[in-house]
Amino acid sequence: MAYLIKGVSILGAAPADLFLKDGVISDKADKDAEIIDGTGLVALPGLVDVHTHLREPGREDAETVETGSRAAALGGYTAVCAMANTSPVADTAGVVEQVWRLGREAGLVDVQPIGAVTVGLAGKQMAELGAMATSAANVRIFSDDGFCVADPKLMRRALEYVKAFDGVIAQHAEEHRLTEGAQMHEGEVSTRLGLTGWPAVAEEAIIARDVLLAEHVGSRLHVCHVSTAGSVEVLRQAKARGVRVTAEVTPHHLLLTDELAAGYDPVYKVNPPLRTRRDVDALRQALLDGVIDVVATDHAPHAVQDKECEWSHARPGMLGLETALPIVLSIFGPQWELIADRMSRAPARIAGLAGHGGDLTAGSPANLTLVDPSARRVVDPSELASRSRNTPYAGMTLPGRIVATFLRGEATVLDGKAVK
């Protein structure tokens, strides 16, 4: 199928026609091309999420590779990295290949599995990282996300070991001895609500340790869901010294604060927890400055019963794929260069996804999304493509509507609806 997108603005530039043919962006129109009116729309390179939970295998009642892929496509994504904390854990070539294959079968986005760093995410023994790297899934990011690789020796070895295949360790930074029983950000609100606090220092201490380890062994480090102003400072200093560290921030940490816990609605429970206004401001600045490299969703679907309960019994996590771009637009406005970099190019680079995050020029893979920045939508959980409903944005009016998404020249979303 060939497409002619008429009068579309590429990254905010003057309207022009865009041709897609044979999976790539073409410099001339095909006479049989299907015509899409691009008036008022902005074309972005397809978004890439380095941090998604697809829940399959194991919790197909919360999400499957297929439903998560559909949610991703509707959110403007063409590639997502699926976290390893499934059941069974993605700690072998077999499991990562299964997830990778399910992604191919769904065919809505490229599903790039992330491999576990340690066997069973237990933090004791390194998983067969090399086997996962050379599997069909071609794993490059390794993470025990949900758990921190707490043992400094093991973390050091993992950082070193993945150099052989240009891998990267994505650390969930949480000093667990400081977060035992933690329910929300440790601060005035947690004190008032009587919920055990998750202190900022528990994140900052691990990031500080890990950037030193990465510096020591000369390895790449990626920091998951940075949530505190203090972490930003640690990263800023490390980058200034030339440490090869990258970092992500979630849309929810860029927008929401711990005050939302006041009603004890677990839809606001997430790990790391929502922090304070001061942290939110620092994270926004860090994303602008490039101290934080990417926006990653940490899309974490949960079944209804895991959220319709007491706060402390609820599982942490929020949906993110379908609302990430609107949230970022609502915060930063139409800074298309910034958005393309932090949500497509940089994450594609970190994940080693060559076909994604490219410029929308002739010859490049036709992975792109079309956004109507003037449209505004009220978030209705029942309309989400995800199998779960745990969005913290229900009822919020957000700018930007994803009109179409193309994966290698094939439409996955047209007219705001998933093609399959």
């Binding site: 601060g187 005035e188 004190t191 009587g194 019963q305």
Partner: protein
Amino acid sequence: MIKHLRSAADLDAPTATLILDTAAEMAALSGREVKKLPALRGRTVVNLFYEDSTRTRISFEAAAKRLSADVINFSAKGSSVSKGESLKDTALTLQAMGADAVVIRHSASGAPHRLANWVDGSVVNAGDGTHEHPTQALLDAYTMRSRLGRLDGLKVAIVGDVLHSRVARSNVLLLTTLGAQVTLVGPPTLIPLDVAAALAEKTQVSYDLDAVLPDSDVVMMLRVQTERMQDSYFPSAREYSRRYGLDVARMKKLPEHAIVMHPGPMNRGMEIAPEVADSPRSTIVEQVANGVSVRMAVLYLLLGGK
């Protein structure tokens, strides 16, 4: 009148005072031979207790029965709750039974707030996790007012594990609403910076009990759980007791009129010496009796009207 009592923050000064005044009338009525009053005839009060707390449950049960309400005790043990039924499903069951009020005790902070989303009746917090215990604060305030004649300007020291104490949280909110000056006393591990920050406008913090006692009208000793020792909040029961326990020598530093309170159950010899607990200054037994009157007042004011 408010619909729920989930937190002492639900109470403004006039409402809190109305509860205390109503409790005083209830107390006067409880001296008579026929203790039962017909005000809540036909109303159903459910005691939903996920934690064992015989004294609180009995207190609420007596209060509801004296007002002629039908009382259903729904305790976690041996019920569908222990078979893993969710709070929401239990709530829907209570809703179907037509509960006019649910008195809930739960180990999870905020459980009463969640419950209030799922039932039409009033929700009364009988202690939730490390959050609040508002009727305990009301009975403490009632006890202070009846012993000392006022709350406005009263100097109250709350001593011990403030961090984990639902009694302390509710008392700070209620007492400051009613004009008392609260000082929190304990080791810094149990009154961390955030407690001070969250409550600083309203309260003072001290780590030195001996310095606070001479200027206190009320000293309220909190129960200190021994498992806190395992978690390095303080080194040993002996050291805790020496630094923050109320013994006879310390009691002598209190002004003549000052009273000693404890929400119970006490660790005699730990946070409070037996001689102090049994002294005339101690209001510990009174607090229990006042609990029924205060809970009658709360149930009447929540359920008595339209």
